[in-house]
Amino acid sequence: MPAVEVNHIVKSYADKAVVNDLSFSVAQGEIFGLIGPNGAGKTTTIRVMMDIIKPDSGDMTILGEKLSEASKNKLGYMPEERGLYRKLSVIDSIIYLASLKGMDRHSAEEKADELLNQTGMLANKRKKIEELSRGMGQIIQFIVTIIHDPELVILDEPFGGLDPVNIELLKRMFLDLRNQGKAVILSTHQMNQVEELCDRILMINNGNTVLYGNLTEIKSRYRSHSVILDFEGELAQIQGVTFKRTHKGYVELVLDGNTTPKQVLERLVSTGIVINRFEVATPSLNEIFLEVVGKNYG
């Protein structure tokens, strides 16, 4: 049973389709990247999934059923625009929001202590939210998102405003969630994070699907048929290499259509140069993003 199954959803505002016939699924135990430029329709898609706004057409199932008040308790959602009760203490905010997810006070406080301790925030338990820094507030927001042990976690730009230490902390916690069999949907602009964390992605632009599938497969689809070489010595002309592009610390060798990377490696070894690094060049997700979105921009 997929954690999320979205079929042909359409949502328009003032006759402009913000989400246009979007379909995708998210499996349990995977981190799924929902990416796209500003205004692509990511947040609207998430809000439709969360039943915060109704789609004009299309349907979806969350954890195998239509979203209901009961199934909302199995979801954890951290929106891009974050907020907490500024005048309430950290613990009171967590307990109240956890109670709206079906937790009783005792369990919520116990779990809150555990998560506050895990994130190094236990000393701030009694502080008012308004006394915390933005990054600290964001950690509390993440605790609120996962305290009720949701089966599906949706995170909209979770890294914004965090320092590198806290980014690493959150990333470890995301991977823990995946290892526990939870489905995690990660919507972000930070392609390096998507590349590092996500198993599959959906890239949307102007409300339309532009890329969807396994991240490794997508990257291999956009492979430029070239190899990366870091070497010592004099590099001679190699048969099958049509172009040589020099970068800082390495060169990129672009191959012709009939030559494989293995053949090139054999030819390089035969020239007697010292090879420190040899790998098939694959574009970064950022490059793919710029290429795909750039084509459709404007």
């Binding site: 929106p79 625009e81 907490l84 009760y85 929001l97 609120v144």
Partner: protein
Amino acid sequence: MDKALLIFRHEFLHTIKRTGFIILTLALPVLALLGIGVFHIISGVARPPVEVTRIGYVDEVVGFDQFTTQGNITFVRFDTREAATQALLKKNITEYFVIPPDFISTGIIKRYIIQKEVTPPPATTIAIKNYLSSNLLVGKVPASTIDRIEAPLNLVTITLTSTGAVAPQQGGFANFIIPGVFSLLLMFALIFSSIYVLQSLSEEKENRLMEILLSSVSTRQLLTGKVLGLGAAGLAQIIIWVISFPLLLKLASSSIGGFISTIQLPANFLALGVVYFILGYSVFAVLSASVAAISPTVQEAQGYSSIYTLFAIAPFWCFSLLLLFPNNPVWIVFSIFPFTAPVLVMLRLGLTGVPVWQLAVSITALVLCIIGGLLLASKLLRTYILMYGKRPNLGEIIRNLRSG
């Protein structure tokens, strides 16, 4: 526990802990107790002996020599104006007056004082008038007639019921005091309670909490929990006042007496007070929820709310007209208009009898307005609560409401 109930509990507890709420709730009973206490302290201290005021007079007509004691004022006769002036300067008398020879034909009395004043003290004027009248009439009419001339009228009004029996509630200020004070407090309670709804929703919208809440609860649960929670806090405030009224009245009546002991509560006043608070609060609360939904900031929402909360204050603006003509058709219309009805009906209950049909129509109008307001607020919340920093225009709102 139902999620609406969780929101209800959160809002109720959060509100009753607010300093402003606690001060407003306790202000009435505490001030009344303080007043009673102050009265006892003052009355417990030995009262200073009543001072007799000595006022001089010069009788140039001759014959005004009786009735020289009028209450606390004693009139002291002087033969000449000079003698009276000397006595005044030496402060043997506080003032003096002259009855000139032509007084009978002109009525002029000349009064001499040493400190400026805007107008003669009423007690002095009455004492001189009675002294002159009594001296003019003595021996010509019986003493009882003189008394009637001095105090010709003691108007006693008796209100009858439709059957001609003496009504149990006789009206007057004794009947108006509590409804008047209650209306004022009701006005504050309605305004503050609806402001709490407005602030609560606007803050959650402005603080971006709304999206988190709506990922856990529906707009219906959110609206129900919030409106009922904040309303319950307001109702608790009203109930504390309503319970404290008879208790304080009893305490004040037994310990102070006088006019206080004549104060009465109009029939069904307490029950109607609670009913009109619940209905009035609901009307203002659903309107506040709608305003919070479309306003991008708390400040802007409060600006809009000042327009409709003026209706709660409006009956007090026209209070003098209401006092004179409590059954004018204009007040009947505004007793039915949902935004003015709660405070106006409470005021009119203290001033006159409000017929049952008017109460029934007024309550029906309030209920219909609440139902319509709830539908409107739900739609607006669903449509606009996640639109940050953007203010929809009226045409857009109407279009969205029509399209559902």
